[in-house]
C-alpha cells in the first residue's frame, strides 16, 4: 500500500518537474514548484519522516513561494530566450553525471539492512538516546544534542544568508512619509474579506508556531519550523495590510537585533557549558542531573534557532518586498 502511494506520488513529482523544465512562463513555474514541494512533503509523510515533512511544508510551500514571487515581481515574468548552443553544457552535465554514478558504485547498496550506518550509528541513537538525552522525539535529540555543532552551523548559515541578502538588496527601512505607501495600500484595501479573515487567523498561526516551538521535544517540530511558521504569519500580515504596517508592528531594525540574539543565545549555551568545565555545547554540565541539563540545553538552543530563523526569514521578506515597492513606485 505504502509502496503504491509512493509510486503515484513520485510519478506525479516527476511529471511536475518535467513540466517545470519546459515552461517559459516563470509564474507558472513558481506555482508548479508549490505543488512540487507539496508532493515531496507527502512523500516524506509517507516515509514516516514527519519532521522533514514539517519543514518542507513550511519552507517549501510557504516561504519559498512567497520569496520566489517577490523575486519575479522584481525581475519579470518570462524566461529569456537562450540563443547559445546547448551542446557543451550537455556534455559537461553528462560527464559529471557519469562521474557521480561511477562514484556511487563504491557505495554500499541503497537501503540494504547491513549498511554501516545501520550497524553503528542509527542503533546507537535509537538505543542510547532515551538514556543519554531522554527526549521522546528522537529527531530532536539527534539534531539538537548529538549534532548540536551542525545545527549551530546551520543557524549561522541562515544568519549569514540574511546578511548576504541585506547587503545585496539593502536593508528595508521604515518609511516615515507614508504618502507613497498609500498607493500600494489602496490596492488591497478592496479585499475586505481577506483583511478580516487574515485578522482572525494570524493570531492562531502565531500561537501554533509557538506550540510547535515548545513541543519539538515531544512530537514533530522544533525551532526551525516554528520560526518559519511565525514568519509566515507576519508575511501574511504584510501582504494583506501592506508592508509599512507590518514594519510598524515589527521593525526591520528589531528583526536584525533578534536574528543576532538568536545566534548568540545558541552560542552562549555552548560557552556556558565550557565555563562549567565541559566541552562546547556539552549540555550535561548545565545542571546537576545530566538529563535535566540536556533538557534545558535543547530547550534554549531550540529557542535560539526559532528566534534566529523567524527574524532572518522576515528580514529577507522585508528586503525583497521593500525593493518591489520601491521599483513600482518610481
Amino acid at each position: 500500500m505504502a509502496v503504491l502511494i509512493d509510486l503515484v506520488l513520485l510519478s506525479m513529482l516527476a511529471i511536475t518537474a518535467l513540466r517545470v523544465i519546459f515552461l517559459k512562463d516563470l509564474f507558472a513555474v513558481v506555482m508548479l514548484f508549490g505543488i512540487y514541494s507539496l508532493l515531496s512533503a507527502l512523500i516524506f509523510v509517507n516515509l514516516d519522516a514527519v519532521d522533514v515533512a514539517f519543514t518542507e511544508a513550511a519552507v517549501g510551500a510557504g516561504i519559498s513561494t512567497v520569496l520566489m514571487l517577490s523575486t519575479l515581481a522584481l525581475t519579470g515574468r518570462t524566461e529569456k530566450e537562450n540563443k547559445r548552443s546547448s551542446v557543451l553544457p550537455l556534455l559537461v552535465v553528462i560527464a559529471t553525471g557519469a562521474a557521480l554514478i561511477y562514484g556511487t558504485l563504491d557505495m554500499p547498496p541503497f537501503g540494504a539492512a547491513d549498511n554501516p550506518i545501520h550497524q553503528h550509528v542509527a542503533p546507537r541513537y535509537i538505543e542510547e538516546s532515551p538514556k543519554e538525552v531522554g527526549l521522546p522525539n528522537l529527531v530532536t535529540s539527534v539534531l539538537a544534542s548529538y549534532r548540536g555543532f551542525d545545527t549551530f552551523g546551520e543557524t549561522v548559515v541562515v544568519f549569514s544568508a540574511m546578511v548576504g541578502v541585506l547587503s545585496l538588496l539593502g536593508a528595508a527601512r521604515r518609511r516615515e512619509n507614508s504618502d507613497d505607501a498609500a498607493v500600494i495600500v489602496a490596492g488591497f484595501k478592496g479585499h475586505k474579506v481577506l483583511r478580516v479573515v487574515a485578522k482572525l487567523i494570524i493570531p492562531l498561526i502565531i500561537l501554533f508556531a509557538l506550540y510547535v516551538q515548545f513541543h519539538g521535544d515531544f512530537g514533530p517540530g522544533g525551532g526551525f519550523q516554528a520560526g518559519v511558521i511565525a514568519a509566515a504569519a507576519f508575511i501574511l500580515y504584510a501582504l494583506v495590510f501592506s508592508l509599512s504596517h507590518a514594519m510598524q508592528v515589527v521593525s526591520p531594525k528589531f528583526l536584525q537585533l533578534l536574528a543576532s540574539l538568536g545566534v548568540l543565545l545558541y552560542a552562549s549555551v555552548g560557552i556556558y557549558s565550557m565555563l562549567k568545565g565541559g566541552h562546547f555545547l556539552d549540555y550535561n554540565k548545565l545542571a546537576a542531573d545530566p538529563l535535566v541539563g540536556q533538557h534545558f540545553g535543547i530547550l534554549i538552543i531550540e529557542l535560539g534557532v526559532g528566534i534566529a530563523v523567524f527574524a532572518v526569514m522576515l528580514s529577507i521578506f522585508y528586503a525583497f518586498a521593500h525593493q518591489v515597492e520601491r521599483s513600482t513606485i518610481k
Binding site: 478592496g190 479585499h191 474579506v193 481577506l194 479573515v197 487567523i201
Partner: protein, 118 residues
C-alpha cells in the same frame, strides 16, 4: 464500534464522491468562474464529509480537537481564497460566460455595421 465504522465509511465514500465530482467539474465546466463553483464543492462538502468520517475514527481525544481545527481552518480559508481569487480575476479583466458572449455579439454587430457602411 461496528456501527461507527460503517457510518464513517459511508461519510468518507460520499465525501470522495463529491470531491471527485468537483474535480471532474474542473474540466467539464465552460469558464473560470463556473470552475470555481466546481472547486468549491471539493473544498466545502467533500472536506466536511471526509473530516467527519475521520472524526468518528478517533477515540474522542486531542486528535478530535485537531481534526476540528483543520476543518475550521479550511472552512475559513478556502472560501476566502476562492473569493479573493475570483475577485482578482474579475479585476484583472476576466469576463464571465454571459459577458463574453455579449461582447462577441457586439463585436460581430460592429463588424457587420462596418461592412454595411462600406
Amino acid at each position: 464500534m461496528l456501527v461507527l465504522d460503517i457510518v464513517s465509511s459511508i461519510l468518507l465514500m460520499t465525501g470522495i464522491f463529491f470531491g471527485f465530482s468537483g474535480a471532474v467539474g474542473l474540466f467539464r465546466f465552460p469558464d473560470f468562474f463556473t470552475r470555481v463553483h466546481a472547486a468549491s464543492i471539493t473544498d466545502s462538502i467533500a472536506v466536511i464529509l471526509i473530516i467527519a468520517g475521520l472524526l468518528l475514527q478517533t477515540s474522542f481525544d486531542l486528535n478530535t480537537a485537531k481534526l476540528m481545527f483543520i476543518l475550521m481552518f479550511l472552512m475559513i480559508t478556502s472560501p476566502t481564497a476562492s473569493h479573493a481569487l475570483a475577485k482578482s480575476a474579475r479585476h484583472g479583466g476576466l469576463l464571465t460566460l454571459g459577458e463574453s458572449k455579449q461582447q462577441q455579439k457586439q463585436q460581430k454587430e460592429q463588424m457587420q455595421q462596418q461592412e454595411a457602411g462600406q
